[in-house]
Subunit: 157 residues, 2 copies
């Protein structure tokens, strides 16, 4: 089975779409443990909650709640977009074994640093993830650039 | 004026003590902008909120709320302990200019990586910060090891 068909990626993509429908930054994530059980899922809440820290991966770890280190062992963080430095650091903190990202055309985050720190990285180059982001950034560039801590660069076509 | 006397460090230490009095992991933080204004402050909420992501620095960034990239320019993140990989990444994401830590004897987080990514790092080697952590870890080692994503190592004297 391709990772694109996994429950983790499907859930992450559902979360991204939910975020999009709420008018939020359409990035979703899902944490799946070594036995294939979903530990948590969530989406970016910058717009919805005026949150500077609830990126999809952080929202997912928060939903998963307090867990011992052993719970993250062998786990995979699915995310629809390459994780930013904060979310990269969160995956490293909890020693998540793998990060499966929908795409990294919209934004390249910690792909290399994750590998350097021993995390397996898979990029699905998924067109649907990219389309959600392209549409959002076209409409709300200021929300997107704020989310990645960059001065607004305006529209890019 | 020494950084130990700064409003940012004083607020971070107050937050750590507040966390301690609540029975939580006694780490506090405070974000101060380039003009010396406090943007946000907070403390670790693992125990109090069953939170896996509200480390002191994340709680602080969350309290500061949605801000444009320009707001973090020249800002200092004060934290009573060397920041973990997640909080290190959060400071890098928002391009905080400086991280002033109370101490790094209890735990060494992203000190080197922050410097590598262009963030100025100051260590105050503050005994009060270290004492709060020593007392907490002696009483609740399991909460502390969970907070840094490590299997419990038991008491260390
Ligand atoms: Ca807008
Ligand atoms: Ca305890
Ligand atoms: Zn992120
Ligand atoms: Zn942290």
């Amino acid at each position: 089975m391709s990772e694109t068909e996994s429950i983790g990626f499907k859930a992450a993509l559902e979360e991204a779409k939910k975020g999009f429908s709420e008018g939020g930054v359409p990035i979703g994530a899902c944490l799946v443990d070594k036995d294939g059980k979903i530990l948590g899922r969530g989406h970016n809440m910058r717009v919805q909650n005026s949150s500077a820290t609830l990126h999809a991966e952080i929202a997912t770890l928060e939903t998963a709640g307090r867990l011992p280190a052993s719970a993250y062992k062998g786990a995979t963080m699915y995310t629809t977009l390459s994780p930013c430095d904060m979310c990269t650091g969160a995956c490293i903190l909890y020693k998540v074994s793998r990060v499966v990202m929908g795409e990294n055309n919209t934004f390249v985050g910690g792909d290399d640093y994750l590998k350097q720190r021993g995390v397996e990285v898979v990029n699905l180059q998924n067109a649907e993830c990219e389309q959600l982001m392209s549409e959002f950034i076209r409409k709300h560039p200021e929300d997107w650039y704020e989310d990645i801590g960059e001065p607004e660069k305006g529209h890019k076509h």
